[in-house]
Protein backbone atom coordinates (compact mmCIF):
# COMPACT_ATOMS: atom_id res chain seq x y z
CA UNK A 1 0.00 0.00 0.00
CA UNK A 2 1.19 3.52 -0.75
CA UNK A 3 2.83 5.10 2.29
CA UNK A 4 0.73 8.27 2.04
CA UNK A 5 -2.43 6.18 2.17
CA UNK A 6 -1.08 4.31 5.20
CA UNK A 7 -0.55 7.63 6.98
CA UNK A 8 -3.94 8.93 5.85
CA UNK A 9 -5.79 5.83 7.04
CA UNK A 10 -4.02 5.81 10.40
CA UNK A 11 -4.61 9.51 11.06
CA UNK A 12 -8.31 9.25 10.27
CA UNK A 13 -8.69 6.13 12.37
CA UNK A 14 -6.84 7.63 15.32
CA UNK A 15 -8.70 10.92 15.21
CA UNK A 16 -12.09 9.28 14.93
CA UNK A 17 -11.26 8.03 18.43
CA UNK A 18 -10.48 11.52 19.70
CA UNK A 19 -13.63 13.08 21.10
CA UNK A 20 -12.28 16.62 21.07
CA UNK A 21 -11.32 16.55 17.39
CA UNK A 22 -14.54 14.81 16.48
CA UNK A 23 -16.78 17.28 18.29
CA UNK A 24 -14.92 20.24 16.83
CA UNK A 25 -14.72 18.97 13.28
CA UNK A 26 -18.08 17.31 12.88
CA UNK A 27 -20.37 18.97 15.39
CA UNK A 28 -19.64 22.45 16.72
CA UNK A 29 -17.62 23.60 13.69
CA UNK A 30 -20.18 22.91 10.98
CA UNK A 31 -23.38 23.30 13.00
CA UNK A 32 -22.89 26.40 15.12
CA UNK A 33 -22.95 28.73 12.12
CA UNK A 34 -26.25 27.47 10.62
CA UNK A 35 -27.83 27.43 14.06
CA UNK A 36 -26.75 30.96 14.84
CA UNK A 37 -27.86 32.00 11.41
CA UNK A 38 -31.39 30.60 11.73
CA UNK A 39 -31.77 32.20 15.13
CA UNK A 40 -30.54 35.62 14.06
CA UNK A 41 -32.58 35.56 10.87
CA UNK A 42 -35.74 34.59 12.69
CA UNK A 43 -35.31 37.42 15.17
CA UNK A 44 -34.49 39.95 12.44
CA UNK A 45 -37.35 38.93 10.18
CA UNK A 46 -40.05 38.61 12.80
CA UNK A 47 -39.00 41.95 14.22
CA UNK A 48 -39.27 43.65 10.86
CA UNK A 49 -42.66 42.05 10.34
CA UNK A 50 -43.83 43.09 13.79
CA UNK A 51 -42.76 46.63 13.25
CA UNK A 52 -44.38 46.85 9.85
CA UNK A 53 -47.72 45.34 10.79
CA UNK A 54 -48.35 45.99 14.47
CA UNK A 55 -50.22 49.16 15.50
CA UNK A 56 -47.77 51.96 16.18
CA UNK A 57 -47.95 52.82 19.87
CA UNK A 58 -46.33 56.09 20.92
CA UNK A 59 -47.16 58.57 23.66
CA UNK A 60 -48.87 61.78 22.57
CA UNK A 61 -48.78 65.02 24.57
CA UNK A 62 -51.63 67.45 23.98
CA UNK A 63 -53.78 65.02 22.00
CA UNK A 64 -56.87 67.17 22.61
CA UNK A 65 -55.24 70.04 20.67
CA UNK A 66 -55.59 68.22 17.35
CA UNK A 67 -58.51 65.80 17.40
CA UNK A 68 -58.78 65.56 13.60
CA UNK A 69 -55.10 64.89 13.13
CA UNK A 70 -55.16 62.10 15.69
CA UNK A 71 -58.23 60.56 14.11
CA UNK A 72 -56.45 60.55 10.75
CA UNK A 73 -53.36 58.94 12.32
CA UNK A 74 -55.55 56.32 14.02
CA UNK A 75 -56.93 55.34 10.66
CA UNK A 76 -53.35 54.74 9.45
CA UNK A 77 -52.70 52.35 12.33
CA UNK A 78 -51.47 54.73 15.02
CA UNK A 79 -52.48 54.01 18.60
CA UNK A 80 -51.85 57.09 20.77
CA UNK A 81 -50.64 56.31 24.27
CA UNK A 82 -51.13 58.41 27.42
CA UNK A 83 -48.78 61.41 27.58
CA UNK A 84 -45.45 61.37 29.39
CA UNK A 85 -44.36 64.17 31.70
CA UNK A 86 -41.09 64.96 29.96
CA UNK A 87 -40.61 63.82 26.35
CA UNK A 88 -36.83 64.42 26.42
CA UNK A 89 -36.25 62.12 29.40
CA UNK A 90 -38.68 59.54 28.04
CA UNK A 91 -36.76 59.25 24.77
CA UNK A 92 -33.37 59.37 26.42
CA UNK A 93 -34.27 56.62 28.90
CA UNK A 94 -35.81 54.57 26.11
CA UNK A 95 -39.19 54.61 27.84
CA UNK A 96 -40.61 55.58 24.47
CA UNK A 97 -39.24 55.08 20.96
CA UNK A 98 -40.49 58.55 20.06
CA UNK A 99 -42.93 61.09 21.53
CA UNK A 100 -45.38 63.29 19.60
CA UNK A 101 -46.22 66.64 21.17
CA UNK A 102 -48.97 68.87 19.86
CA UNK A 103 -48.68 72.46 21.13
CA UNK A 104 -51.78 74.27 22.41
CA UNK A 105 -51.72 76.77 19.53
CA UNK A 106 -51.94 74.01 16.91
CA UNK A 107 -55.66 74.69 16.30
CA UNK A 108 -55.11 78.46 16.09
CA UNK A 109 -52.39 78.16 13.45
CA UNK A 110 -54.40 75.59 11.53
CA UNK A 111 -57.44 77.84 11.37
CA UNK A 112 -55.35 80.80 10.22
CA UNK A 113 -53.81 78.70 7.47
CA UNK A 114 -50.28 79.05 8.92
CA UNK A 115 -48.06 75.97 9.11
CA UNK A 116 -49.26 74.22 12.27
CA UNK A 117 -46.37 72.75 14.18
CA UNK A 118 -46.14 69.35 15.88
CA UNK A 119 -43.00 68.22 17.71
CA UNK A 120 -41.47 64.80 17.25
CA UNK A 121 -38.96 63.72 19.89
CA UNK A 122 -36.61 60.88 18.95
CA UNK A 123 -33.00 59.74 19.11
CA UNK A 124 -31.42 59.16 15.70
CA UNK A 125 -28.48 57.33 17.23
CA UNK A 126 -30.80 54.51 18.28
CA UNK A 127 -30.99 52.64 15.02
CA UNK A 128 -33.35 50.02 16.36
CA UNK A 129 -35.93 52.73 17.26
CA UNK A 130 -35.89 54.43 13.89
CA UNK A 131 -38.58 52.29 12.34
CA UNK A 132 -41.51 53.56 14.55
CA UNK A 133 -40.30 57.15 14.24
CA UNK A 134 -40.15 56.89 10.45
CA UNK A 135 -43.61 55.35 10.31
CA UNK A 136 -45.08 58.22 12.32
CA UNK A 137 -43.24 60.74 10.16
CA UNK A 138 -44.70 59.18 7.03
CA UNK A 139 -48.21 59.25 8.53
CA UNK A 140 -47.86 62.94 9.40
CA UNK A 141 -46.50 63.69 5.96
CA UNK A 142 -49.41 61.94 4.30
CA UNK A 143 -51.92 63.87 6.43
CA UNK A 144 -50.18 67.14 5.66
CA UNK A 145 -50.11 66.49 1.92
CA UNK A 146 -53.75 65.45 1.83
CA UNK A 147 -54.90 68.58 3.66
CA UNK A 148 -52.69 70.81 1.56
CA UNK A 149 -54.24 69.36 -1.56
CA UNK A 150 -57.72 69.89 -0.16
CA UNK A 151 -56.92 73.52 0.60
CA UNK A 152 -55.73 74.09 -2.97
CA UNK A 153 -58.83 72.42 -4.39
CA UNK A 154 -61.03 74.61 -2.14
CA UNK A 155 -59.37 77.65 -3.72
CA UNK A 156 -59.91 76.33 -7.19
CA UNK A 157 -56.30 75.35 -7.85
CA UNK A 158 -54.92 72.02 -8.98
CA UNK A 159 -53.04 70.14 -6.23
CA UNK A 160 -50.46 69.27 -8.88
CA UNK A 161 -49.26 72.89 -8.71
CA UNK A 162 -47.75 72.26 -5.31
CA UNK A 163 -45.77 69.25 -6.56
CA UNK A 164 -43.60 70.36 -9.45
CA UNK A 165 -41.54 67.15 -9.36
CA UNK A 166 -42.81 63.65 -8.80
CA UNK A 167 -40.41 60.78 -8.23
CA UNK A 168 -41.48 57.43 -9.53
CA UNK A 169 -39.27 54.85 -7.84
CA UNK A 170 -38.52 51.66 -9.72
CA UNK A 171 -36.78 49.16 -7.48
CA UNK A 172 -34.85 46.62 -9.54
CA UNK A 173 -34.22 44.19 -6.71
CA UNK A 174 -35.77 40.77 -6.99
CA UNK A 175 -36.96 38.74 -4.03
CA UNK A 176 -33.85 36.60 -4.55
CA UNK A 177 -31.44 39.52 -4.54
CA UNK A 178 -33.00 40.99 -1.40
CA UNK A 179 -32.42 37.64 0.28
CA UNK A 180 -28.84 37.61 -1.00
CA UNK A 181 -28.03 40.96 0.55
CA UNK A 182 -29.24 39.64 3.87
CA UNK A 183 -27.18 36.48 3.47
CA UNK A 184 -23.87 37.92 2.28
CA UNK A 185 -22.20 36.69 5.46
CA UNK A 186 -22.85 33.09 4.37
CA UNK A 187 -19.58 32.58 2.41
CA UNK A 188 -17.60 33.44 5.52
CA UNK A 189 -19.44 30.77 7.46
CA UNK A 190 -18.43 28.18 4.86
CA UNK A 191 -14.79 29.25 4.95
CA UNK A 192 -14.80 29.26 8.73
CA UNK A 193 -16.25 25.76 8.80
CA UNK A 194 -13.48 24.45 6.58
CA UNK A 195 -10.93 26.24 8.74
CA UNK A 196 -12.22 24.87 12.02
CA UNK A 197 -12.95 21.44 10.56
CA UNK A 198 -9.29 20.90 9.73
CA UNK A 199 -7.60 23.02 12.37
CA UNK A 200 -7.46 20.60 15.28
CA UNK A 201 -6.20 17.84 13.06
CA UNK A 202 -3.58 20.08 11.47
CA UNK A 203 -2.27 21.08 14.89
CA UNK A 204 -2.35 17.55 16.23
CA UNK A 205 -0.69 15.87 13.26
CA UNK A 206 2.39 18.08 13.28
CA UNK A 207 2.81 20.21 16.42
CA UNK A 208 0.99 17.63 18.54
CA UNK A 209 3.01 14.72 17.22
CA UNK A 210 6.23 16.57 17.80
CA UNK A 211 5.20 17.53 21.32
CA UNK A 212 4.28 13.92 22.09
CA UNK A 213 7.67 12.87 20.68
CA UNK A 214 6.30 10.51 18.06
CA UNK A 215 7.49 12.47 15.02
CA UNK A 216 11.12 11.37 15.34
CA UNK A 217 10.34 7.63 15.36
CA UNK A 218 7.90 8.19 12.49
CA UNK A 219 10.64 9.81 10.41
CA UNK A 220 12.95 6.85 11.06
CA UNK A 221 10.79 4.81 8.69
CA UNK A 222 11.90 4.44 5.08
CA UNK A 223 9.30 6.86 3.76
CA UNK A 224 10.09 10.23 2.23
CA UNK A 225 8.80 13.05 4.37
CA UNK A 226 6.72 14.58 1.61
CA UNK A 227 4.79 11.31 1.40
CA UNK A 228 4.08 11.48 5.11
CA UNK A 229 3.05 15.11 4.68
CA UNK A 230 0.68 14.21 1.83
CA UNK A 231 -0.98 11.57 3.98
CA UNK A 232 -1.45 14.04 6.78
CA UNK A 233 -2.78 16.74 4.45
CA UNK A 234 -5.17 14.15 3.04
CA UNK A 235 -6.47 13.36 6.52
CA UNK A 236 -6.94 17.06 7.30
CA UNK A 237 -8.80 17.58 4.01
CA UNK A 238 -11.02 14.57 4.71
CA UNK A 239 -12.08 16.10 7.99
CA UNK A 240 -12.57 19.63 6.67
CA UNK A 241 -14.55 18.40 3.65
CA UNK A 242 -16.77 16.34 5.96
CA UNK A 243 -17.21 19.45 8.04
CA UNK A 244 -18.14 21.46 4.97
CA UNK A 245 -20.61 18.83 3.73
CA UNK A 246 -22.36 18.77 7.10
CA UNK A 247 -22.45 22.57 7.17
CA UNK A 248 -23.80 22.95 3.64
CA UNK A 249 -26.44 20.29 4.29
CA UNK A 250 -27.42 22.03 7.51
CA UNK A 251 -27.76 25.33 5.65
CA UNK A 252 -29.90 23.71 2.98
CA UNK A 253 -32.22 22.45 5.70
CA UNK A 254 -31.97 25.67 7.72
CA UNK A 255 -33.06 27.72 4.71
CA UNK A 256 -36.50 26.17 5.16
CA UNK A 257 -36.70 27.26 8.77
CA UNK A 258 -36.24 30.92 7.90
CA UNK A 259 -39.56 32.59 7.00
CA UNK A 260 -38.07 34.49 4.05
CA UNK A 261 -41.30 34.19 2.04
CA UNK A 262 -42.99 36.48 4.57
CA UNK A 263 -40.63 39.23 3.46
CA UNK A 264 -41.31 38.46 -0.16
CA UNK A 265 -37.90 36.85 -0.53
CA UNK A 266 -36.77 33.67 -2.09
CA UNK A 267 -33.62 31.89 -1.02
CA UNK A 268 -32.02 29.48 -3.46
CA UNK A 269 -30.40 27.16 -0.92
CA UNK A 270 -31.23 24.05 -2.90
CA UNK A 271 -29.06 20.99 -3.62
CA UNK A 272 -27.59 22.63 -6.72
CA UNK A 273 -26.44 25.61 -4.67
CA UNK A 274 -24.93 23.21 -2.12
CA UNK A 275 -23.04 21.37 -4.83
CA UNK A 276 -21.69 24.58 -6.36
CA UNK A 277 -20.54 25.79 -2.95
CA UNK A 278 -18.65 22.55 -2.31
CA UNK A 279 -16.95 22.71 -5.73
CA UNK A 280 -15.93 26.35 -5.26
CA UNK A 281 -14.57 25.57 -1.79
CA UNK A 282 -12.36 22.64 -2.84
CA UNK A 283 -9.21 24.68 -3.59
CA UNK A 284 -9.64 26.42 -0.26
CA UNK A 285 -9.81 23.07 1.53
CA UNK A 286 -6.36 22.15 0.25
CA UNK A 287 -4.96 25.66 0.70
CA UNK A 288 -6.08 25.90 4.33
CA UNK A 289 -4.86 22.39 5.16
CA UNK A 290 -1.41 23.23 3.78
CA UNK A 291 -1.35 26.63 5.48
CA UNK A 292 -2.42 25.22 8.84
CA UNK A 293 0.19 22.48 8.63
CA UNK A 294 2.81 25.07 7.74
CA UNK A 295 1.91 27.09 10.82
CA UNK A 296 1.88 23.95 12.96
CA UNK A 297 5.33 23.01 11.63
CA UNK A 298 6.71 26.33 12.84
CA UNK A 299 5.13 26.01 16.28
CA UNK A 300 6.92 24.16 18.99
CA UNK A 301 3.86 23.06 20.91
CA UNK A 302 0.18 22.36 20.45
CA UNK A 303 -0.73 25.52 22.34
CA UNK A 304 1.59 27.68 20.30
CA UNK A 305 0.03 26.39 17.08
CA UNK A 306 -3.43 27.01 18.49
CA UNK A 307 -2.54 30.63 19.22
CA UNK A 308 -1.11 31.27 15.74
CA UNK A 309 -4.04 29.60 14.02
CA UNK A 310 -6.48 31.61 16.11
CA UNK A 311 -4.90 34.72 14.62
CA UNK A 312 -4.89 33.22 11.14
CA UNK A 313 -8.61 32.51 11.48
CA UNK A 314 -9.33 36.23 11.21
CA UNK A 315 -7.88 36.38 7.69
CA UNK A 316 -10.79 34.64 5.91
CA UNK A 317 -13.15 37.18 7.47
CA UNK A 318 -11.44 40.05 5.68
CA UNK A 319 -13.04 39.72 2.21
CA UNK A 320 -16.46 39.29 3.82
CA UNK A 321 -16.09 42.35 6.01
CA UNK A 322 -14.50 44.42 3.25
CA UNK A 323 -17.19 43.58 0.74
CA UNK A 324 -20.01 44.26 3.17
CA UNK A 325 -18.57 47.63 4.21
CA UNK A 326 -17.64 48.80 0.72
CA UNK A 327 -19.66 46.78 -1.77
CA UNK A 328 -17.90 46.73 -5.11
CA UNK A 329 -18.85 45.45 -8.49
CA UNK A 330 -17.61 41.94 -9.07
CA UNK A 331 -14.87 41.98 -11.69
CA UNK A 332 -13.15 39.10 -13.41
CA UNK A 333 -9.83 39.27 -11.56
CA UNK A 334 -11.55 38.62 -8.26
CA UNK A 335 -11.99 35.00 -9.30
CA UNK A 336 -8.21 34.56 -9.33
CA UNK A 337 -7.80 35.34 -5.63
CA UNK A 338 -8.60 32.52 -3.20
CA UNK A 339 -11.05 33.54 -0.44
CA UNK A 340 -12.20 36.51 -2.52
CA UNK A 341 -13.29 34.24 -5.37
CA UNK A 342 -15.32 32.07 -3.00
CA UNK A 343 -16.83 35.19 -1.43
CA UNK A 344 -17.93 36.81 -4.68
CA UNK A 345 -18.88 33.50 -6.31
CA UNK A 346 -21.15 32.31 -3.52
CA UNK A 347 -22.66 35.79 -3.08
CA UNK A 348 -23.35 35.91 -6.80
CA UNK A 349 -25.22 32.61 -6.61
CA UNK A 350 -27.17 33.76 -3.56
CA UNK A 351 -28.27 36.84 -5.48
CA UNK A 352 -29.83 34.58 -8.06
CA UNK A 353 -27.09 34.92 -10.62
CA UNK A 354 -25.11 32.01 -11.97
CA UNK A 355 -21.41 31.57 -12.55
CA UNK A 356 -19.97 31.04 -15.98
CA UNK A 357 -17.79 28.01 -16.60
CA UNK A 358 -14.85 30.38 -17.05
CA UNK A 359 -15.42 31.91 -13.63
CA UNK A 360 -15.63 28.52 -11.92
CA UNK A 361 -12.56 27.32 -13.80
CA UNK A 362 -10.57 30.44 -12.89
CA UNK A 363 -11.52 30.01 -9.25
CA UNK A 364 -10.48 26.35 -9.24
CA UNK A 365 -7.28 26.70 -11.26
CA UNK A 366 -5.91 29.73 -9.43
CA UNK A 367 -7.02 28.31 -6.08
CA UNK A 368 -5.32 24.97 -6.64
CA UNK A 369 -2.20 26.63 -8.07
CA UNK A 370 -1.75 28.75 -4.96
CA UNK A 371 -2.58 25.77 -2.73
CA UNK A 372 0.11 23.75 -4.52
CA UNK A 373 2.59 26.57 -3.94
CA UNK A 374 1.86 26.67 -0.20
CA UNK A 375 2.02 22.88 -0.14
CA UNK A 376 5.48 23.01 -1.72
CA UNK A 377 6.65 25.47 0.95
CA UNK A 378 5.17 23.26 3.66
CA UNK A 379 6.95 20.23 2.19
CA UNK A 380 10.23 22.14 2.35
CA UNK A 381 9.71 23.01 5.99
CA UNK A 382 8.70 19.39 6.61
CA UNK A 383 12.00 18.27 5.20
CA UNK A 384 14.04 20.41 7.58
CA UNK A 385 16.12 18.79 10.29
CA UNK A 386 14.72 20.78 13.15
CA UNK A 387 11.14 19.69 12.49
CA UNK A 388 11.53 16.27 14.04
CA UNK A 389 13.55 17.29 17.05
CA UNK A 390 11.13 17.43 19.90
CA UNK A 391 12.77 19.57 22.52
Amino acid sequence: MNASLVVLAKEIRENLRDKRTLINALLTGPLIAPLMFVMIMNVVISRQLDQAEAPLELPVIGASNAQNLLEALRQQGFDPQPPVADPVTAVRNRDAAAVLRIPTDFGKSWDKGDPAQVELYYDSSRRDLQQPMKRLQAMLERYSRLNGAMRLVARGLSPALARPVVVDERDQSTPRSRAGALFSILPYFFVLTVFIGGMYLAIDLTAGERERQSLEPLFANPVARWRILLGKIGAICTFSVSSLLICVTAFTLAGRLIPTEKLGMDLGLGPLFALEVVVLMLPLVLLLAALQTLVAAFSRTYREAQTYLGILMVVPALPSVLLSVTPVKTVAWMYTVPLLSQQVGITEMLMGGSLTAAEVLTCLLCGFAIAALVLAVTARVYGSERLAISV
Binding site: K10, L215, L218, A220, A224, E385
Partner: protein, 243 residues
Amino acid sequence: MIQVESLHKAFGAIRAVDGVSFTARDGEITGLLGPNGAGKTTTLRMLYTLMRPDAGRVLVDGIDAADALAVRKRLGVLPDARGLYKHLTARENIDYFARLQGVPAADCARRREALIEVLEMSDFADRRAEGYSQGQRVKTAIARALIHDPHNVLLDEPTNGLDVMATRRMRQFMRELRAEGRCVLFSSHIMQEVAQLCDRIVVIARGRVVADESPQALRLQTGESNLEDAFVKIIGSGEGLAA
Protein backbone atom coordinates in the same frame (compact mmCIF):
# COMPACT_ATOMS: atom_id res chain seq x y z
CA MET B 1 27.46 -3.59 10.27
CA ILE B 2 27.66 0.12 10.85
CA GLN B 3 30.77 2.10 9.89
CA VAL B 4 31.11 5.67 11.01
CA GLU B 5 33.83 7.77 9.41
CA SER B 6 34.86 11.12 10.79
CA LEU B 7 31.38 12.55 11.49
CA HIS B 8 31.03 16.25 12.15
CA LYS B 9 27.93 18.18 13.16
CA ALA B 10 27.71 21.73 14.48
CA PHE B 11 24.73 23.72 15.72
CA GLY B 12 25.78 27.31 15.28
CA ALA B 13 29.04 27.72 17.14
CA ILE B 14 28.61 24.52 19.13
CA ARG B 15 30.45 21.55 17.65
CA ALA B 16 28.20 18.78 18.95
CA VAL B 17 29.99 16.01 17.06
CA ASP B 18 33.57 16.75 16.14
CA GLY B 19 35.13 13.88 14.23
CA VAL B 20 33.56 10.66 15.47
CA SER B 21 34.66 7.37 13.87
CA PHE B 22 33.96 3.79 14.95
CA THR B 23 32.63 0.52 13.68
CA ALA B 24 29.78 -1.55 15.14
CA ARG B 25 30.11 -5.18 14.02
CA ASP B 26 27.50 -7.87 13.39
CA GLY B 27 26.92 -10.27 16.27
CA GLU B 28 28.30 -7.76 18.74
CA ILE B 29 26.85 -5.24 21.14
CA THR B 30 28.59 -1.91 20.78
CA GLY B 31 28.07 0.63 23.53
CA LEU B 32 28.25 4.35 22.99
CA LEU B 33 29.20 5.71 26.37
CA GLY B 34 29.57 9.30 27.41
CA PRO B 35 28.38 11.95 29.81
CA ASN B 36 25.19 13.91 29.12
CA GLY B 37 25.69 16.30 26.22
CA ALA B 38 28.73 14.43 24.88
CA GLY B 39 27.16 14.05 21.42
CA LYS B 40 25.74 10.52 21.67
CA THR B 41 22.21 11.37 20.56
CA THR B 42 23.39 13.62 17.74
CA THR B 43 25.71 10.85 16.51
CA LEU B 44 22.84 8.35 16.55
CA ARG B 45 20.54 10.80 14.80
CA MET B 46 23.02 11.04 11.95
CA LEU B 47 23.18 7.23 11.84
CA TYR B 48 19.42 6.89 11.38
CA THR B 49 19.46 9.78 8.86
CA LEU B 50 17.32 12.19 10.85
CA MET B 51 20.21 14.62 10.53
CA ARG B 52 22.76 15.10 7.80
CA PRO B 53 26.38 15.24 8.88
CA ASP B 54 28.31 18.41 8.02
CA ALA B 55 31.21 16.17 7.09
CA GLY B 56 32.12 12.50 7.22
CA ARG B 57 29.97 9.54 6.28
CA VAL B 58 28.00 6.61 7.62
CA LEU B 59 27.83 3.17 6.00
CA VAL B 60 25.15 0.70 7.03
CA ASP B 61 25.82 -2.77 5.60
CA GLY B 62 28.00 -0.95 3.10
CA ILE B 63 25.27 1.46 2.00
CA ASP B 64 26.00 5.16 2.32
CA ALA B 65 23.53 6.92 4.60
CA ALA B 66 23.12 9.60 1.92
CA ASP B 67 20.71 7.01 0.48
CA ALA B 68 18.46 7.59 3.50
CA LEU B 69 15.52 5.35 2.57
CA ALA B 70 17.68 2.32 1.82
CA VAL B 71 19.55 2.75 5.10
CA ARG B 72 16.38 3.19 7.13
CA LYS B 73 15.10 -0.17 5.83
CA ARG B 74 18.15 -1.85 7.39
CA LEU B 75 17.85 -0.09 10.72
CA GLY B 76 15.62 -0.66 13.73
CA VAL B 77 15.62 2.53 15.75
CA LEU B 78 14.58 3.33 19.28
CA PRO B 79 15.15 7.09 19.32
CA ASP B 80 15.48 9.32 22.32
CA ALA B 81 11.91 10.42 21.54
CA ARG B 82 9.70 7.38 21.92
CA GLY B 83 6.17 8.76 21.83
CA LEU B 84 3.33 6.39 20.97
CA TYR B 85 -0.07 7.14 19.43
CA LYS B 86 -2.22 7.14 22.52
CA HIS B 87 -5.50 6.46 20.75
CA LEU B 88 -4.07 3.30 19.22
CA THR B 89 -3.35 0.00 20.97
CA ALA B 90 0.17 -1.41 21.11
CA ARG B 91 -0.69 -3.82 18.29
CA GLU B 92 -2.03 -0.96 16.15
CA ASN B 93 1.04 1.15 16.91
CA ILE B 94 3.26 -1.72 15.77
CA ASP B 95 1.17 -2.39 12.64
CA TYR B 96 1.38 1.26 11.58
CA PHE B 97 5.18 1.11 11.46
CA ALA B 98 5.07 -2.29 9.77
CA ARG B 99 3.00 -0.81 6.93
CA LEU B 100 5.34 2.17 6.64
CA GLN B 101 8.26 -0.27 6.45
CA GLY B 102 6.41 -2.17 3.75
CA VAL B 103 6.25 -5.45 5.69
CA PRO B 104 3.77 -7.87 4.07
CA ALA B 105 0.67 -8.41 6.21
CA ALA B 106 1.35 -12.10 6.91
CA ASP B 107 4.97 -11.50 8.00
CA CYS B 108 3.82 -8.56 10.08
CA ALA B 109 1.31 -10.62 12.09
CA ARG B 110 3.82 -13.39 12.70
CA ARG B 111 6.62 -11.07 13.72
CA ARG B 112 4.40 -8.84 15.80
CA GLU B 113 3.12 -11.75 17.86
CA ALA B 114 6.68 -13.05 18.30
CA LEU B 115 7.84 -9.64 19.57
CA ILE B 116 4.83 -9.35 21.89
CA GLU B 117 5.76 -12.77 23.28
CA VAL B 118 9.48 -12.03 23.74
CA LEU B 119 8.89 -8.57 25.22
CA GLU B 120 6.08 -9.90 27.48
CA MET B 121 3.54 -7.43 26.20
CA SER B 122 0.48 -9.67 25.87
CA ASP B 123 -1.33 -8.30 28.93
CA PHE B 124 -1.50 -4.74 27.53
CA ALA B 125 -1.09 -5.20 23.76
CA ASP B 126 -4.79 -4.58 23.04
CA ARG B 127 -5.17 -1.67 25.38
CA ARG B 128 -4.86 1.88 24.05
CA ALA B 129 -1.46 3.41 24.71
CA GLU B 130 -2.98 6.20 26.78
CA GLY B 131 -1.93 5.48 30.37
CA TYR B 132 0.89 3.04 29.62
CA SER B 133 3.68 2.80 32.15
CA GLN B 134 7.17 3.91 31.10
CA GLY B 135 8.19 0.26 30.68
CA GLN B 136 5.16 -0.56 28.55
CA ARG B 137 5.88 2.45 26.38
CA VAL B 138 9.51 1.46 25.79
CA LYS B 139 8.53 -2.13 25.01
CA THR B 140 5.98 -0.97 22.44
CA ALA B 141 8.48 1.45 20.93
CA ILE B 142 11.06 -1.34 20.60
CA ALA B 143 8.56 -3.76 19.11
CA ARG B 144 7.52 -1.28 16.44
CA ALA B 145 11.18 -0.46 15.72
CA LEU B 146 12.00 -4.14 15.08
CA ILE B 147 8.84 -5.19 13.23
CA HIS B 148 10.64 -5.21 9.86
CA ASP B 149 13.32 -7.57 11.15
CA PRO B 150 16.22 -5.11 10.76
CA HIS B 151 19.75 -6.40 10.72
CA ASN B 152 21.05 -3.36 12.60
CA VAL B 153 19.52 -2.12 15.83
CA LEU B 154 20.09 1.37 17.25
CA LEU B 155 18.89 2.04 20.77
CA ASP B 156 19.21 5.48 22.35
CA GLU B 157 19.40 4.98 26.11
CA PRO B 158 17.06 1.98 26.04
CA THR B 159 16.95 1.49 29.80
CA ASN B 160 16.23 5.13 30.58
CA GLY B 161 13.38 5.37 33.06
CA LEU B 162 12.93 1.63 33.45
CA ASP B 163 12.74 -0.10 36.82
CA VAL B 164 15.20 -2.80 37.85
CA MET B 165 13.21 -5.74 36.52
CA ALA B 166 12.43 -4.06 33.22
CA THR B 167 16.09 -3.08 32.85
CA ARG B 168 17.19 -6.68 33.37
CA ARG B 169 14.74 -7.91 30.77
CA MET B 170 15.89 -5.22 28.35
CA ARG B 171 19.51 -6.32 28.72
CA GLN B 172 18.49 -9.92 28.17
CA PHE B 173 16.63 -8.89 25.06
CA MET B 174 19.69 -7.13 23.70
CA ARG B 175 21.76 -10.26 24.23
CA GLU B 176 19.16 -12.21 22.28
CA LEU B 177 19.45 -9.74 19.43
CA ARG B 178 23.20 -10.28 19.46
CA ALA B 179 22.74 -14.06 19.47
CA GLU B 180 20.65 -13.72 16.33
CA GLY B 181 23.69 -12.23 14.65
CA ARG B 182 22.48 -8.64 14.55
CA CYS B 183 24.57 -5.56 14.93
CA VAL B 184 23.42 -3.86 18.13
CA LEU B 185 24.49 -0.30 18.90
CA PHE B 186 23.19 1.44 21.97
CA SER B 187 23.99 4.59 23.87
CA SER B 188 24.10 4.94 27.60
CA HIS B 189 25.53 7.10 30.27
CA ILE B 190 25.36 4.22 32.76
CA MET B 191 28.79 2.72 33.00
CA GLN B 192 27.75 -0.48 34.73
CA GLU B 193 25.31 -1.30 31.98
CA VAL B 194 27.84 -0.78 29.25
CA ALA B 195 30.41 -2.87 31.10
CA GLN B 196 28.00 -5.77 31.51
CA LEU B 197 26.65 -5.89 27.99
CA CYS B 198 29.20 -4.65 25.53
CA ASP B 199 31.68 -6.46 23.38
CA ARG B 200 33.06 -3.10 22.45
CA ILE B 201 32.89 0.29 24.09
CA VAL B 202 33.10 3.59 22.26
CA VAL B 203 33.58 6.40 24.73
CA ILE B 204 32.52 9.85 23.54
CA ALA B 205 33.30 13.09 25.31
CA ARG B 206 32.90 16.64 24.02
CA GLY B 207 31.98 15.36 20.55
CA ARG B 208 35.05 13.16 20.09
CA VAL B 209 35.83 9.48 20.49
CA VAL B 210 38.25 9.18 23.39
CA ALA B 211 38.38 5.37 23.51
CA ASP B 212 37.27 2.46 21.31
CA GLU B 213 38.13 -0.84 23.00
CA SER B 214 36.78 -4.03 24.57
CA PRO B 215 36.02 -3.60 28.29
CA GLN B 216 39.07 -5.74 29.04
CA ALA B 217 41.38 -3.68 26.86
CA LEU B 218 40.00 -0.51 28.38
CA ARG B 219 41.07 -1.61 31.83
CA LEU B 220 44.50 -2.56 30.55
CA GLN B 221 44.92 0.69 28.65
CA THR B 222 44.19 2.86 31.64
CA GLY B 223 45.91 0.62 34.12
CA GLU B 224 42.84 0.75 36.32
CA SER B 225 41.37 -2.52 37.54
CA ASN B 226 38.09 -0.79 38.30
CA LEU B 227 36.11 0.07 35.14
CA GLU B 228 34.57 3.16 36.68
CA ASP B 229 37.98 4.59 37.45
CA ALA B 230 39.02 3.73 33.92
CA PHE B 231 36.14 5.79 32.48
CA VAL B 232 36.81 8.74 34.69
CA LYS B 233 40.43 8.68 33.64
CA ILE B 234 39.54 8.54 29.95
CA ILE B 235 36.89 11.24 30.04
CA GLY B 236 39.00 13.42 32.22
CA SER B 237 36.33 14.10 34.82
CA GLY B 238 33.67 12.26 36.76
CA GLU B 239 31.01 14.51 35.37
CA GLY B 240 27.74 12.96 34.18
CA LEU B 241 28.62 9.35 34.88
CA ALA B 242 26.12 7.35 36.87
CA ALA B 243 26.98 4.07 38.54
